[in-house]
């Protein structure tokens, strides 16, 4: 069993509502989640499920209402300046839009050198250049890119630079928030293959946030599924994709189009309804769940061990339901 690098417990994050009198929006509603060293954890969920907010809370970029985040055994709430400095060095992020996350007026050389200038002031210019070039090589770029500005790079190249920048400080944890969803298919494949290679070669711990389940399937060892701010299921990727336990995970997997006409799913033309008022005390998925019973509307299930992972459902497992769009045999 490898060591736990990140431990998130009962995390709650709220944002102000749309107007002063509107209720606060609970983006993350009591999430507990661990990330072990060397593991690539995929966080999946639809828009508004709280996956990006979870990452931002871990990074200390949003205020936490309650709960705690522990990194390397230390509660971040108690962290001092030096601890945060170490955290900022060891935890790096790659965002969705590479063009927006690179300073348009900095050359690639400057973009890659900056983290080193801040965190490793002892290095000389020669050493910085050496590290920069090595990292550029890691992401499939070379010396010829050093003097370019972001606008002189393609989207894929920008994302490679963003990844190289995240790597120059030899991070322990790499957080990727939808790093390939803005890219063309052929470029997406290049970046995915690169991330997989780097993960294996450098033994990185990765938190990989994505809405595309095929991408998560390709990269991640472990997967956590979020729905409306809560974790509904976590499991090893193989088990989760083979035998999803939570009805929401099943519906999600059943909705992913497959690039093979022989495996058509005959998606149902399900009707849409105005979303009901926030569920009271019951399960957050009860209003959409084909399995919901009386108990689901009054009690909220907590994460319990089921099969190989943890699932927040009173009636987990394959069940008898055919969630919408589930594969027709």
């Amino acid at each position: 069993m490898s060591a736990r690098l990140v431990d998130i417990r009962d995390l709650v994050v709220e944002y102000p509502g749309g107007s002063p009198r509107a209720p606060r929006v609970r983006a993350v509603a009591g999430v507990s989640l661990g990330i072990d060293e060397g593991v690539t954890l995929g966080i999946v969920g639809e828009s508004g499920s709280g996956k990006s907010t979870l990452a931002r809370a871990l990074l200390g970029l949003v205020d936490i209402q309650s709960g705690q985040v522990e990194y390397g055994g230390m509660p971040m709430a108690a962290a001092g300046r030096a601890d945060w400095r170490r955290f900022r060095r060891e935890v790096q992020v790659v965002f969705q839009d590479p063009a927006a996350s690179l300073d348009p007026r900095m050359s690639v050389a400057r973009i890659l050198a900056e983290p080193l200038l801040v965190h490793r002031p002892e290095l000389g210019a020669g050493q910085i250049r050496e590290i920069t070039l090595a990292r550029l090589g890691n992401v499939g770029l070379d010396e010829s890119h050093l003097r370019r500005l972001p606008r002189q790079l393609s989207g894929g190249e920008c994302q490679r630079v963003a990844i190289a920048r995240a790597l120059v400080l030899e991070p322990r944890l790499l957080i990727c928030d939808e790093p390939v969803s803005a890219l063309d298919i052929s470029i997406q494949a290049q970046i995915l293959a690169l991330l997989r290679e780097l993960q294996q070669r450098l033994g990185l711990t990765v938190m990989f946030i994505a809405h595309d389940l095929s991408v998560v399937r390709y990269l991640c060892k472990r997967v956590a599924v979020m729905y409306r701010g809560s974790l509904v299921e976590t499991a090893n990727a193989d088990a989760l994709f083979r035998d999803p336990q939570h009805p929401y995970t099943r519906a999600l997997l059943g909705s992913v189009p497959v690039a093979d006409p022989r495996q058509r799913r005959n998606f149902a033309a399900t009707a849409a309804t105005f979303s009901a008022a926030a569920a009271g005390s019951g399960c957050i998925y009860a209003d959409r769940c084909p399995r919901a019973q009386e108990r689901c509307r009054t009690e909220s299930p907590s994460l319990e061990r089921s099969g190989d992972g943890d699932v927040a459902c009173f009636f987990p497992g394959a069940g008898g339901d055919l969630a919408d769009g589930e594969r027709q045999r």
Partner: protein, 320 residues
Amino acid sequence: MSELLLEVEDLGVSLPTSSGQLHAVDSLGFSLREGELLGIVGESGSGKTQTALALMGLTPAGSRVSGSARLDGEELIGRPEAELNDLRGDRIAMVFQDPQAALNPYLRIGVQLTEVLEQHRELDAVTAAQRATEMLQAVGLDDSERCMRSYPHQLSGGMRQRVTIAIALLCRPRLLIADEPTTALDVTVQAQILGLLRVLKGSHYGAGLLITHDLAVVAEICDRVLVMYGGKPMELAAVDRLFHNGHHPYTRALLRSLPRLDRPESGLVPIPGQPGRPTGAGCPFRPRCAERLEQCAAVVPPRLDIAPGHLSYCHRSGPN
């Protein structure tokens, strides 16, 4: 064999850019039969959206459209604006990627539907409202009365896209063009919208063009696929043939580069380089093609008839 609905021949779109004319679409031809859903797949810059806009007469100012596109035998290219206005929303309709941008935020949904009927069918307000309500129900908005009274911001993204589909289908168009209709939606909502497009075909529209970058979406609901690259057609085939017996090196490379939920062990082989268009007459995919030949740079690839209804534009004529 069902009736020919759309016939596109030698379609070209050239756009003015700071560095001269860009041939966004070049020598494109395909046809569409009644009841068919054709997927047009390509990466950015492949010309798939400009193709759709050319059919709608909506290419940007200063652009030049050449060739021919006949809807039920009637030429669309070069039609005067007034005639196009009568056609659009009536016999050809379009659904865009972003439903938020496609709807007027200041008008209730009901108004945005009935104005189409008043324009094209000259219906009175009561009849128009009734037809609009029925259409909202047809696209799965069960609470159609409430929906008619709502403003776009009161609906979810998936509901808004259902509304734009309802607007497009009000006059029962012969041709429905959907440009990345599910790209901005969550995957469970995408499945619902794709199901809807499939179910309504035939009863609510004659035939459809689905423009997308997502091969999996095409595999799920289209009958045939046209693969484009750099403004040119690469391959055209029935879905089963394209996905299982694809001929063109680009098609096969694209399929190998997809992460697959159904085949996690099969890995993924990226295509080197990036989408673009080299100058010169040859095949636009050649700089990235692992199977390129000497003539690929200079000579326009021939059109190969691989099988009935299966075309490939490539210098490699042998079986793959």
